[in-house]
Structure formats: C-alpha cells, structure tokens
Amino acid sequence: MTASTPPPSATTATAATTAAATPAAAAAAAAGHPGAGAPPRTVLKVTDLTVGFDGTTAVDGVGFELAAGDTLGLVGESGSGKSTTALALLRMLPAGGRITGGSVELDGQDLAALPEPALRALRGRRIAMVFQDPMSSLNPVLTVGRQLDEALRAHGAHPDRRERAARAVELLDLVGIPDAAGRLRDHPHRFSGGQRQRIMIALALANDAEVLVADEPTTALDPTVQRQILDLLTRINRRTGTALVVISHDLGVIARTCRRLLVMRHGKVVESGTTAELLGAPQHPYTRQLLAAVPRLETPSGAAANSVPGPEPLLTVTGLRKTYGSRRRAVTALDGVDLELHPGETLGLVGESGSGKSTLARALVQVHAPSGGAIRFRGEEFGRGGERTARREVQLVFQDPYSSLNPRMTAGQIVAEPLIAHGLGDRAARAKRVAELLEQVGLDPASADRHPRAFSGGQRQRIGIARALAPEPSVLICDEPVSALDVSVQAQVLDLLARLQRDLGLAILFIAHDLAVVRQVSHRIAVLHGGRIVETGPADRVVTAPEHPYTAELLAAVPRLDPAPVPALTSRSTV
C-alpha cells in the first residue's frame, strides 16, 4: 500500500461530529477560524513531500490530508523519516535539510513555497509544534508567565498586557496546571517534567493554532505521566477542535490518541488507515512485523523456560541507603533497599525516573559508595573482600548505546578495555577473546577495527554487552538496556540476553520502566518507588495480580495496542 489518503467521507464525518458535539470547538471555530463550520474542510494537505539531506533522501513522497479537528499518528522506527516529516511541515529542518519536492498546504496556502517571513507569521499562530524534551525546550531564565506572554505577543493578537496575563492563566488552566494564576511567576525548574510538557503544550496553543504537531511528546516522560499528557492532548483536541499530528515510535501512544495512522519506513509511507483497522488487520508485512515486535503486557514470562535460578543467592542487598547532597539538604535516592539475586535468574526492577533505579545499579558496580546498608557478593560483604571479586564479576550494560561507547576507540578496543584493566591475557590472547566475544553477541569479528559510529543502535548495544561480558562476569546489571532501541531491535537484544543467560548461567538484574518487556524476560519482578522496594514477586503474579497500589497504577499506565481507550473514536466512525 502506498501513501494513499483515506476515504474523505470518514474524515469528513469525524470533523463534523467533533465540531457539532463540542460547543467549545464550535465557538473556537466561529471566533478564530471562519470556514470551519458545517462543511468540514481539510486544514492540512501534504502531497508528495520529499526532503533531502545532502543528497540522501530522508522523506520520500509522503502525502496525507488532515481535516479540522482530526487526529493523525505518524509511526515508524528511527531513521524512518517521521520526525523529519514533522519538522518539514513547519519548514524547520535542521541544517543541511531541504524540501526538494511536494507541497504542504495549510488551508490552500503552500508552506513549502512560502517566503520565510510569511511562514514565521504562520508558525505558532496556525500551526504549532510540541517537542520531545520538555527539559530543554523551555527557557530556564524566564518565568513561565513571561514565556507565555511572549508567545501571545509574537503574533500581536493580544495588545493589552492584562488581557495577555488573563489568557496565560486560562492556557495553564486548560493544560491542567493547578493554581495557574499563582504559578505564572515561577521559573521552569519549579515544575516537574510532565508539567513542563503541559506548559509546552500551553505555549503551542497560545494562538489557537488549528494544527498541533507533537513530535514524540511523551518519550522523555514516565508511563504514568505519559498517560496524563496523552489524555490532555485528546481532551484539547475535543475541546478546542485543534487537529493533532502525533509522531511516535510507540504504537501504543498513537493507538491512545489518534484516529488515523500512517506507518513510515525508510522515508516512505508503507500503510495508512484508521488506527482500529490498521491495528486490527494490518496489510503491509512491515506493519505486521512492527506490531508483532511490540512487547505486550499480556505475554507471560518466558524466563522460566530459559533458565532455572540456583538456590543460593549470588548477590544480596540489605537495607541499602544512598543520600546525595549536604547533610542539611540531603536528597534520599535509596531508602533501605533489600534484594536477592540468584545465579541464572533475571530479576526485573521497575520504577519511574527518580525512583533510584540507576543509583542502585551504580552502587552495585561500585561507581559510588552507599551511605548505609550492605551489599554481599558470594556471601562476602563489600568493603570486607567481597568488592574485589565483584569488581570483575559484576558488570553493567548501559542504556544509551551512543554515549556509552568511546567514539575515539574501535569496537575491538572497547571490548578489550576491561581485559586490559583486569590484566587478563596478553595481546594475542586478548585479540582472540575479543573476536570470540563479538561472535557471541552476534557481530562479525572482522568489524572489530571499526568505530562505533559505523554501527547501528542495536549493534552498538551488542558491543556494550560484549564489553560487559569480557571479564567473564557472573552478574550482569542491565540499566534500561533496550529503551533507546527500536522495537524490532529491542526483541533481538532481548533474545541475545536470554541466550547469554542460558549459555553462561548469568544472573541478570534487568532495570527498565517498560513493564511489558520486564515481564517477558524476568523470573521475578521488584517494583522500586521512592527509593524503596514496594513489591517483589514472580513476574506473572506481579503483573496479573499486583499487591501494591503503586504497581497497579504503573500497570494501568502502560499504553495498550487496542485502540479502545479513546472511546469517542469508535462511535465517531459509525456516525
């Protein structure tokens, strides 16, 4: 299937219901956007959009139509061109990128051909964008009120200062910031990540844009916050009639927010249709493959079939505490953590950011010393002999396959580093071991003299795993090892870890925020919340019958692939 636009009748019906069903939308349409009345129109029409980067084509002939008040999802893996498409809509491509063909028509006006000043007048006013990282998208030295004020002033719609302040409060209120009026004078650092993303959305909505483009709006957020933001986007779409374009690598996110869906690969649209149809009966093999690779929460744990944990614990953590900062302003990262890890066992550790997951991982590999409690390795306590064996036998796999590999060294040198550090073998023996390790993680030993940049994300993560395996560890700490990878690559890396556990009898502490992945790979799951383990139990039991309310909350936040959570959609398509 190619970049076909959906049957116009469906979109038309939706827009009509949206406008008619919500008085706010009708009011907005009447006030700001004449023409958005009874016969719903296409606000955004993209035809044959092609974007090139120094000779390579990143987006190749993408086309779609977006009706007023409609929601459209763009899904694809990294390199599929989905973000480039989003940026091209507003012609905000990074240096080197250029729209080489096609048109982006906003209400009949071709944005691709518009001169820059005219385009600037449209950005933010009629088509707005929300970015991935709320931490860096807000200016840290200006108050939130000031930033909203500037956004409102940029298009001169509100000449009066007090009127702008009132509108700013209204916007913060709309996106669900409590005590909106009181918080206008606060700087961005006083808000949490989720709240900042809400403020970003408020900024984007400041001038009643008809189209809101959200590029990975929740990727940097925790699952429970993600759910709130997605609900907010859906609510805004209903209340104000703003058409949404959501770009995400996560099919669950799209399923939750969008009525229609484009699947992109290698810069092309491989399949498009309504979300329900596409998820229910995918036509294109790539869509099917993508859907199959998405980890589902319903899938039972496969760990027991993979390996049987030994009886004696290998690594025991008791009452582990870690505080940062001075005594007066101490921040508690770990507040008495108890854990046991057996040989051949995978213990899944889930928790949101700030729960202390990474602090625990780093304490176990002795990057920092804990403030209290004890860690025992093979029965010997850290600080009384246990730490020496653990330094070699407990190894860490990092989250980010890009920043965790030294860009100046070759893959072979990176993998050989721990061997040199622990004084294992001479030059010839090391070279042999490096080749063996690369083979073991599924890489060609001949690629040892290539630099990390020559490898893909998944291959880089394999190099990271090979490095961790080099000193023959018995415990592998994996800190979010697959969260930076595409779903299809994710599955391969998980398979690799399972195979390594089977072959080498490794104990794995698998830290992640994605419960579906964790259930799939773990024997047991421990839930970390606020520096404490709130629940531990067999993987399947924790997911199916959580005992702690926080675990239940986490489970509820996991975006599912069935599009049911967006209730209005099914009724809309029947209207």
């Binding site: 980067f53 120094d54 000779g55 390579t56 084509t57 990143a58 694809g76 893996e77 990294s78 390199g79 599929s80 061109g81 989905k82 973000s83 480039t84 989003a86 940026l87 990074p94 080197g96 990128g97 991935q132 590029d215 990975e216 990727t219 690598h249 590999v365 002795q366 990057v367 330094r391 070699r392 190894q395 860490l396 990092f398 980010d400 920043s403 965790s404 590999l405 030294n406 860009p407 100046r408 060294m409 580093e417 721990p418 040199i420 550090a421 622990h422 630099h451 940049r453 020559a454 990271g464 490095r467 080099a470 000193p471």
Partner: protein, 284 residues
C-alpha cells in the same frame, strides 16, 4: 531522535577529516595563504636577500628603491632584509614558546583532574597568572632576566599556560561525566587510564583551535614587548622592534612602518582565520 538519522549517516566520511574540512574553506585557505606567505618569506630570507640585516649604510631613511625594496631604517640598514630576518626570529620564538606553554598548561590540567585538592591548587595558579596583566608580567620577567630572547619566550609560554589549562580542564570535566568514561571505570580501568585513554582524546579538539589562537597571541606579545624595548635586544631584528623604531618617523617616513606592520598583521590575521576555520570545522 529520528530527525538526524539521515545526516548522521553521511557524517563518518567527513568526521575523519573535520580539521581538514575546516581548513579547506575560504576562511581557512585565506589564513593558510597569509601565514604561509609570511613564513615562507622568513624561511627563504637568506636566498631572497643578500644583504646583512645588521649592516649599516650611508643611506638612512630612504624610500623603496631597486636596491632596497622596502627602503632603509634610521641607521641605513636594509628594511627588506631586516623584516625577513625579523619574521624568522618571531616565528622561531613563537613556535617554540607556544608548545611549551601548551604542554605545561595541559600537564597542570591533567594533574588537576587527579584530585580535588590538586584541582584547587592548579586553579589558583592559573588565576595568579591571569591576574597579572600581560605587560606587568613582561616587565617583571624582564626586570629579573634583563631584555633578550628568553624573557619573550618565558612571557609567551606563561601567558599560554592558563589558557590551555582551563580549556583542557573544562573539556575533561565535561567528558568525564559521559557514559563511556563511566563504562571504562565499571570495566575496572584505573583513574589514570580512564583519564589518559578515554577522556583526554575526546577533550583535545578545542585545544587544536586554542593552539592557533595562541600563535596569534604570541605574535602580538612579541610585538608588544619589543615595541616597549623589553624584548629581543637590538640589533637583532624582530617585527616588534622594527615597528618600535619606525614610530618616531611615522609622520615623515610612513613607508618605514609599512612592511613590519603588514607582516605582523598578516600573521595575526592568518592565525586567527585558521583558528576560526578549525573551530567551525569541528563544530560542523
């Protein structure tokens, strides 16, 4: 996340020669041409002119002529020969003093990276050197050693130490927090190995740019010191000392100052352009 995938793929070929790519721009080539011309003229001085730069003649303060292309100075010495030999002296001084200063600055920065106390101590040493304005430093050094080549050498090297040191220190601080450095530590590497093998190679980029900046600062310092009579002793020619001599005749014999001024300007401008080109190259 995905937006940059396409350009990233095109990067490797270019990344290897970022310095070269930077230099091969209009800016870089202009800089190279300026520095190259002046340096070549200095190196080929014995071939280009048969005149002894220190030989005095009867013809003082003459304008340009066939025998004396740049004219003569107040003592009747051939300016063409003096400027060419002056360039050699300048370059020899700068090209030896800047690396010494760079090396000392970088060593101190590495030492500082080792321990918190060492860091504080080294930082205060840098502050101390920076606290002295260049000329005061020059005066102090000359007061102890007397005028000559050595004070110029020492002042240039001293002035460069904190610049290189701070640059490298900030690079180390940034790179040390990167995950690959942490990975090396977890892999069992010693602190020294992490620093020298992992952190340092990733922190040197700005230093290359700093070196080009330092060379232009070197030309400037030599000129200023000789101009004030604190530098290389006459009759040995340097660009600064010739300029210093010419100032008295600026109103009556403007051609006197033209050649040394042009050479100094070309060097400073050339090095600055090269620094800027390299900077853009690595930031690309």
């Amino acid at each position: 996340m995905t937006a940059l995938a396409a350009p990233a793929r095109a990067l490797p070929a270019r990344a290897r020669n970022r310095y070269l790519a930077g230099l091969l721009t209009g800016r870089g080539l202009t800089g190279l041409a300026l520095v190259g011309t002046v340096a070549l003229a200095g190196l080929l001085a014995p071939l280009l002119t048969g005149q002894d730069p220190d030989a005095q003649g009867p013809l003082a303060l003459a304008g340009p002529s066939a025998a004396h292309p740049f004219g003569t100075d107040d003592l009747g010495r051939d300016l063409f020969s003096r400027v060419l030999h002056g360039i050699t002296t300048d370059l020899a001084l700068i090209l030896s003093a800047v690396p010494v200063g760079a090396l000392a600055g970088c060593s101190l920065a590495l030492l500082a990276a080792g321990h918190r106390w060492a860091d504080t101590a080294v930082q205060r040493v840098f502050d101390l050197v920076l606290a002295f304005p260049g000329l005061i430093l020059a005066l102090a050094v000359t007061a102890v050693l007397g005028p000559g080549r050595w004070p110029v050498f020492i002042v240039i090297a001293l002035a460069e130490i904190p610049l290189f040191g701070r640059q490298l220190r900030s690079g180390i601080l940034v790179q040390r927090e990167r995950e690959y450095a942490l990975a090396a530590r977890v892999g069992g590497a010693s602190q020294r190995r992490v620093l020298l093998r992992h952190v340092l190679p990733n922190a040197v980029d700005p230093l290359i740019v700093q070196a080009a900046v330092a060379l232009s600062v070197g030309v400037f310092i030599e000129g200023a010191m000789s101009f004030l009579g604190l530098g290389v002793r006459p009759p040995e020619p340097t660009l600064g000392s010739i300029l210093s001599q010419s100032v008295g005749y600026l109103a009556t014999r403007p051609t006197f100052a033209a050649a040394p001024l042009a050479a100094t300007t070309a060097l400073v401008l050339g090095f600055t352009l090269i620094a800027e080109a390299l900077n853009r190259g690595i930031r690309r």
